[in-house]
């Protein structure tokens, strides 16, 4: 009898403790705000990452970014131009509705409709066909080996719910009232939105009926945006928050030294690089008149070799960056290690400049954002001082991102001579870089919209066109290697580094840090 009671008490205690331990709340902050819940209004990492806790795509990505099945159990290419997706059965949306092929067809239409910012997820000429309730076919105009690469962030919405709430039209930037889907969410994901006040607080709760088992043990999540770096770090150090990101590189040591918190760092996918105006016959901002020195590959290479990338990595980035020879992260291109940066060599740089007829140097204006990338302005200042050593005088114009992008992008006619930019290929694939950053463009940006300097080599464009439709991965990687070799030889840009991620985490929680800087609650364990 006695033993029985003890056992019963122990069991009761265990149950009680179990309940207490299972009610785990995760509190975290990010520097920016979560503006709306409609998964198609903004193609931006933090927004999509947050939505990814609530909504799911046909595919998803693991912590190491490999593609996994999600709402689709499997898929196959039945004909070169026809992909078949077999949907997971028994999945329910948060409101209890069943997930079926109709929802996929509906979401494919909605994501491509006017007002959506994610129209690039599925080409406008792709046909989506329902085969049966749990099978969907995608019929493409031509082969596309990377069709599903971005589908981890093409979230499936509930047709019935969206239609019933009159939210079929995506709330676009010019609409006067937000529709139901912008303020509420109904996904299939591991968490539900309990309340959402844009710019103030968003509360999530575990979805008990999720089809998969979460690796973590979090029941409730409270998100607060904290814009001020100092406050964000202070809130972590004081123990009010379990996780904050990003933390400034200069605070990493402080967070590590503090008892109870640590900084979690790792490489990010974004590549930071410099670009030259190679299109105009005379630079807009330079002492050189009547010609454009950047049209000469020797000048571009001289700039490249004048910059001490290791010093930037050590001093400016405090070790939190990986120097890069390519315009893409090694995570996203398997043969990255075959490429090497031109060595830092100021003497060679001077010789190259003299050979090109600029032995006395010249001055050039440089555009730089000061609140967009990690230590962006400091990088530009370092670049300016390295260039000064080889006789190039840089007039630095560092501005907040709003003004910077208004000046240098297509809408303002690419008003820049020399600039710093960062790029993450949303598709996780090299073709995105070859198209956006190095594709030949016209004055309006057609061809290579973010090729601000207008670098153009028809051979690269030719290879890029082949890469787009090549289904064999080995052949494809070979074509990409060829294109990257030409770009490297041409010094189309100066790749600097992949910047690092820095998350501040309490010792009480374990999180999975993804290189694309998305934060998913389902992997969080709180002790």
């Amino acid at each position: 009898m006695r033993i029985k009671t003890t056992v019963a008490t122990a069991a009761l205690a265990a149950t009680l403790m179990g309940t207490a331990a299972s009610a785990e709340t995760l509190r975290y902050a990010f520097q920016g705000t979560l503006n709306q819940l409609d998964p198609y209004t903004l193609n931006e990492t933090f927004t999509l990452g947050s939505h990814g806790n609530v909504y799911e795509g046909l595919t998803r990505r693991a912590p190491d970014l490999t593609i996994e099945p999600a709402l689709a159990e499997s898929w196959e290419v039945v004909e070169p131009n026809r992909w078949r997706f077999h949907l997971r059965k028994g999945v329910k949306f948060h409101n209890g509705n069943d997930f079926t092929a109709d929802d996929v067809v509906f979401s494919a239409e909605r994501v491509r409709s006017e007002g959506s910012d994610l129209t690039s997820r599925i080409g406008a000429d792709v046909k989506v066909e329902k085969v049966d309730d749990h099978t969907v076919d995608f019929i493409l105009p031509g082969p596309n080996p990377i069709l599903h690469y971005e589908w981890d962030t093409w979230y499936i919405m509930d047709k019935e719910w969206t239609e019933a709430n009159n939210a079929v039209k995506v709330t676009s930037a010019s609409d006067t009232t937000p529709n139901h889907a912008a303020l509420n969410a109904n996904g299939t994901g591991s968490f539900k939105v309990v309340s959402h006040e844009a710019g103030v607080k968003t509360v999530f709760e575990k979805n008990e009926n999720w089809w998969d088992k979460p690796k973590g043990n979090i029941d409730r999540v409270e998100f607060t945006p904290i814009g001020s770096d100092a406050t964000r770090v202070a809130a972590l150090l004081s123990g009010e928050l379990d996780m904050v990101y990003p933390i400034p590189v200069q605070d990493i040591k402080r967070v590590n030294d503090n008892a109870g918190t640590k900084a979690l760092t790792g490489p990010e996918l974004r590549t930071i690089f410099l670009g030259f105006d190679q299109k105009r016959d005379e630079l807009l901002y330079s002492s050189v008149k009547g010609k454009n020195p950047f049209k000469d590959v020797r000048v571009r290479k001289a700039f490249y070799q004048a910059i001490d990338i290791n010093a930037i990595s050590d001093k400016v980035m405090r070790g939190l960056s990986t120097p890069s020879a390519l315009l893409i992260s090694p995570f996203q291109y398997s043969r990255s290690d075959e490429f090497e940066r031109y060595p830092y060599d100021p003497e060679a740089a001077k010789a190259l400049l003299a050979e090109a007829g600029y032995g006395d140097g010249f001055s050039v204006g440089m555009d730089c954002p000061n609140d967009r990338y990690v230590n962006d302005e400091a990088i530009c200042q370092a670049v300016a001082s390295f260039l000064a050593r080889v006789g190039i005088k840089v007039d630095l114009n560092a501005q907040p991102k709003a003004q910077y992008f208004a000046k240098v992008l297509a809408s303002n006619g690419y008003d820049t001579s020399f600039y710093l930019l960062g790029w993450t290929p949303g598709s996780f694939d090299s073709w995105n870089v070859l198209h956006n950053i190095t594709g030949c463009r016209d004055d309006k940006g057609k061809g290579g919209p973010f090729n601000l300097g207008g670098y153009c080599n028809p051979k690269v464009d030719e290879l890029s066109a082949q890469i787009l439709v090549e289904n064999d991965p080995v052949k494809r990687d070979e074509l990409i290697a060829q294109a990257f070799t030409i770009i490297h030889d041409d010094v189309s840009h100066i790749p600097l580094h992949q910047q690092g991620l820095a998350w501040g985490v309490s010792d009480k929680v374990e999180v999975a840090q993804r290189a694309d800087n998305q934060f998913h609650f389902r992997w969080v364990v709180k002790n």
Binding site: N35, D175, A230
Partner: protein, 325 residues
């Protein structure tokens, strides 16, 4: 009186129009809103179409006229970043800012006046010197620095008070208040001190110099000669006479407390209008910026109007001047 009021009203409307015009001119330099509204992969054509739909390609005067006509009907448009009506957004953030401002003002008054009286009466005591040094800090250190200092002392080191946000709020109709919960009150302490410190030192110095002035006057000497108690002389006679300018200044300062809450709200992530405004500047959210500036201008104009009308009531000379004309 009526003519005076009407003249003041017309002036007030004129001031509002000028503020609107100046802020509208400035918006041309804050950057491109479209770029903040879409992701990187949006094509230049789509961006152009969006600019057209938002009416950003219209001439400045057309945009201005449209804004004025809508603003006169209290329609401030839709926020670019939140895609929600601006009036609603600001209305939701208003209680946070007002609570913070009023608590700061009360703190400034109830700490500033006693400190001022004390330093005025005991000019050479050590405590007075300490108060004056504190007031020097309050006047010379920038608000954001004081805020961060307080956070590191009271949140990180001592862990007494929260470093950000409003804590737990209670919803009373459309008004959200943090004054009814312990968490909300704790969250209010640091931001209120940060925001009120400058005003507190201002009031303290004002009271001190007024006190020094008043103590020298004949009626104080006479009161002393009558054998009144020290306490009664100091507080009934002296302090009362120093309060007239203090009340005027406090009234006027309330407007600037609300307006300058921007910095304090940013440091403490206080979800008020100031924080909303700052986020809008970063994201080039012109509708919110315009509405906020109009609201602040309206606040100042209203306070000034009331003060003017009160003067008219209080000061007979103003009325007499009118009569002779």
């Amino acid at each position: 009186m009526l003519a005076f009021t009407i003249r003041r009203l017309v002036q007030a409307i004129l001031v509002m129009l000028v503020v609107a015009l100046i802020s509208f001119t400035l918006f041309r330099f804050v950057g491109d809103p479209v770029n903040q509204m879409v992701g990187v992969e949006t094509t230049p054509e789509q961006r152009e179409a969006l600019r057209e739909r938002l009416g950003l390609n219209d001439p400045m005067l057309t945009q201005f006229g449209r804004f004025i006509i809508n603003a006169a009907q209290f329609d401030f448009g839709t926020s670019y970043q939140f895609r929600q009506p601006v009036a609603e957004l600001i209305g939701r953030r208003l209680p946070a800012t007002l609570e913070l401002s009023i608590v700061s003002a009360i703190f400034a008054l109830f700490v500033g006046i006693p400190m001022g009286v004390y330093t005025g009466l005991h000019r050479d005591s050590i405590l007075s010197k300490l108060f004056l040094s504190i007031s020097l800090i309050g006047i010379s250190l920038p608000t954001f620095f004081i805020g961060i200092l307080l956070i590191f002392l009271f949140s990180v080191t001592l862990q007494w008070l929260p470093s950000f946000g409003r804590g737990d709020v209670v919803q009373l109709g459309w008004w959200s208040t943090g004054l009814l919960t312990w968490g909300g009150i704790k969250a209010l302490i640091l931001p209120a001190i940060t925001l009120g410190l400058f005003q507190m030192t201002l009031i303290m110095r004002l009271v001190r110099s007024e006190m020094l002035e008043v103590i020298r006057t004949d009626y104080i000497k006479f009161a002393r000669a009558r054998g009144l108690r020290q306490r009664s002389v100091n507080f009934r006679h002296a302090l009362k006479n120093t309060l007239v300018p203090v009340i005027t200044i406090t009234g006027l300062q309330l407007g600037s407390i609300i307006a300058f809450a921007i910095i304090t709200e940013t440091v403490f992530q206080w979800p008020g209008m100031g924080l909303l405004f700052l986020q809008s500047v970063q994201n080039v959210d012109i509708p919110i910026m315009a509405a906020y500036l109009m609201l602040i201008a309206f606040l100042f104009v209203t306070i000034n109007l009331i003060v003017d009308l009160l003067y008219f009531q209080v000061d007979p000379r103003l009325r007499a001047e009118r009569a002779t004309h």
